[in-house]
């Protein structure tokens, strides 16, 4: 199913879509309020973008520097070209420690690599400990948002899930009760875990340290209670110097949820005595994206989710309609680079309104890249005949002003007088589930001339 078809499934529950739409827009508004409070916010975004551009232009050097500094601190560094290597490396660390119980905090990379099913096949229990991720894990679904993984679930649905899996009492979806039960359930998992896996928000080349941000405290509960910490990062998570954290931590949470900073910004440099700390550095298609001049800025992304919250398509189609670990506008420019055939409908899931680019904390030109992917895809992927022939006709009509005027007139006449079934049918996607606007007798050109004449 392509994006539009999947979105149609999500749109069957109108009340839920409306809630989803409003909830995410509310988060976008909180982002605005929070950003406007910061003196020099736009300059901060420029710095974020500039630092990331420098990172990409010197990425190999920074990675080597990071590795050597981390090793000096007693951290074990691994490299993985792809998802399979990543999973194998994590698996072998777990084997070495005969680990059977793993707690994991949010990591879009391990989601991208499908680490959980790989480990589960080996008989290892993997528990996602971010509450939203735990909810979707229990529901056997992927996250639908990178910051708000269970945003597509109602509290009543969570209630039923928890009754089934955690043995809670029916509470009609009381959030306080459900969170307190999840706290008890996951505390037990933290206390019994052998190994903790986390993602990495930022890895600092000049210190060899890395930062993990959470609001719940789940990354720290996992890491500090288990013997082994495995941190998995994409190569693009590197920043040159520790002081640059001062730029990115100011941008991240404000862009994500409107908070001035996440509750916990944990800085890991050395393992505790008697414990092990591993870092797995993963490529998995990133160096290929780096080679694409038009699309490499997508690697600036710091995974805040602001582009999703603001996107009129994402808000009304839901994260699952994208069928990729990273949904929304940023996912739609990352995913075609991974598998153009599978994700070819995603760059079209946009109005190109540019709101995503406007809120992006590292100034990725997301909507321009969406437009560029469309051009690549139309050339390389087979397009439906209807779309092709309509566009051909449109090309001819638009190149001839007289023909355009006639076409406009007849279209306005037809739309006014033709029977409903001829206008609202499968050929007209704009007439799906809504009425077309009232048809005027004149076009803009005629209206404008008349207006000038009338003074």
């Amino acid at each position: 199913m392509n994006h539009a078809e999947k979105a149609e499934v999500f749109n069957k529950d109108e009340a839920k879509v409306n809630w989803h739409d409003k909830a995410l827009w509310y988060v976008r508004e909180k982002r605005d309020t929070s950003a406007h409070k910061v003196q020099g916010w736009e300059y901060l975004r420029e710095l974020g973008s500039g630092i990331k551009a420098n990172v990409l232009s010197n990425l190999d050097e920074y990675l080597v520097q990071f590795e050597s500094n981390a090793q000096k601190n007693g951290v074990i560094v691994h490299w993985a070209s792809n998802a399979e290597e990543h999973n194998k490396i994590v698996g072998s660390i777990l084997d070495k420690h005969q680990a059977k119980k793993v707690v994991k905090s949010k990591s879009m990379l391990t989601e991208e690599c499908h680490l959980n099913p790989f480990l589960e096949k080996k008989g290892i229990e993997v528990i996602d400990t971010d509450l939203g991720e735990r909810i979707v894990q229990l529901a056997e679904e992927p996250p639908s948002h990178i910051v708000l993984p269970a945003i597509h679930k109602t509290k009543e649905e969570v209630d039923v899930l928890f009754q089934e899996h955690l043995g809670t009492k029916p509470s009609q979806g009381n959030p306080e009760y459900l969170v307190s039960e999840a706290r008890k359930h996951l505390r037990d998992k933290f206390l019994k875990a052998d190994v903790a896996i986390t993602g990495v928000n930022f890895a600092v080349a000049d210190t060899g340290g890395f930062v993990v941000c959470t609001n719940e405290g789940n990354a720290d509960m996992g890491v500090h209670l288990s013997k082994v910490h495995i941190a998995c990062m994409g190569i693009e998570k590197i920043i040159p110097q520790e002081k640059h954290l001062g730029v990115f931590l100011r941008l991240l949470a404000r862009s994500a949820t409107g908070q001035p900073i996440t509750t916990y910004s944990s800085h890991f440099n050395k393992p505790e005595e008697g414990k092990e700390m591993h870092i797995v550095i993963v490529d998995n298609g990133r160096t290929e994206q780096l080679s694409r001049e038009d699309f490499r800025a997508s690697l600036h992304c710091i995974r805040c989710g602001a582009c999703m919250n603001t996107c009129p398509i994402y808000r009304r189609s839901g994260g699952h309609s994208y069928d990729y670990a990273i949904p929304g506008p940023i996912g739609s420019i990352l995913s075609p680079g991974k598998d153009m055939k599978k994700h070819s409908s995603l760059p079209f899931a946009s109005t190109l309104c540019g709101s995503c680019s406007n809120v992006c904390p590292v100034k990725i030109n997301i909507h321009e890249q969406l437009y560029k992917w469309r051009q690549v895809i139309v050339k390389e992927q087979k397009q439906p005949i209807i779309k092709k022939s309509i566009l051909k006709v449109a090309g001819v009509v638009l190149s001839k002003p007289n023909l355009y005027a006639i076409a406009g007139k007849s279209a306005r006449f037809a739309l006014k007088h033709a029977p409903k079934f001829m206008i609202y049918n499968k050929l007209n996607a704009w007439g799906k589930a809504r009425d077309l606007p009232e048809i005027k007798n004149e076009n803009f050109d005629e209206w404008f001339k008349k207006r000038n004449k009338d003074g």
Partner: protein
């Protein structure tokens, strides 16, 4: 395995070297009362904050957390500790700690974050596993924003450190904010 292949691929595909932007700190300068803004941001992120005299610390904590029995204090500024810990304490034994009292190194006015190091908490897990958390912070130790904060901590011994801004929280169930996820259920900052 992947190391050489990844580095080679980056070398082949990276753009020409771009400079690291210089940060012009003046762009972020603000003439504000650090303490007032810090206080209002602590409240914004769900924490309590009180400005008191050093001598009143224990009295204040007793009043706020009168039911706490298992208390770990890793600061000389409070003598309320009932459970002693050392660097070798197994963090699993802290499962039932009601209250932890630690010192913070630095407060950040723009976001209410407080820098707490492994030294401050003795056991890394302590500020997370405790039911409630009190952080004592000297009011001279406030800075304007995160860039200044990293300047101030740049000379530290780097092992583990965390910026804590408020109690643990989640909004993962229908965007309803619930305080008390996996970390501390409440945070009180005592500014002395």
């Amino acid at each position: 395995m992947g190391r050489e292949a990844i580095l080679k691929s980056i070398k082949e595909n990276k753009p020409d070297l771009l400079p690291i932007p210089k940060i012009n700190a003046d762009a972020f300068a603000e003439d504000i009362n650090l303490k007032d803004v810090f206080k209002s941001n602590i409240a914004l992120v769900g924490g309590n904050i009180k400005e008191i005299e050093k001598e009143a610390i224990d009295l204040e904590i007793k009043a706020l957390y009168s039911n706490a029995k298992h208390i770990v204090s890793v600061t000389t500024k409070s003598s309320l500790g009932t459970v002693s810990v050392s660097k070798d304490t197994d963090p699993h034994n802290l499962e039932n700690i009601d209250l932890a009292i630690v010192e913070g190194e630095l407060g950040v006015s723009e976001n209410g974050a407080i820098w707490v190091t492994a030294d401050n908490s003795m056991v890394r897990a302590l500020p997370f596993i405790t039911n409630d958390l009190v952080i004592i912070l000297e009011k001279e130790k406030l800075c304007l924003h995160m860039l200044q904060a990293y300047d101030n901590i740049s000379q530290r011994d780097r092992d583990f450190g965390v910026f804590i801004s408020g109690p643990s929280k989640t909004a993962d169930i229908e965007q309803c904010l619930v305080v008390g996820a996996h970390g501390a259920m409440s945070l009180t900052v005592l500014l002395v």
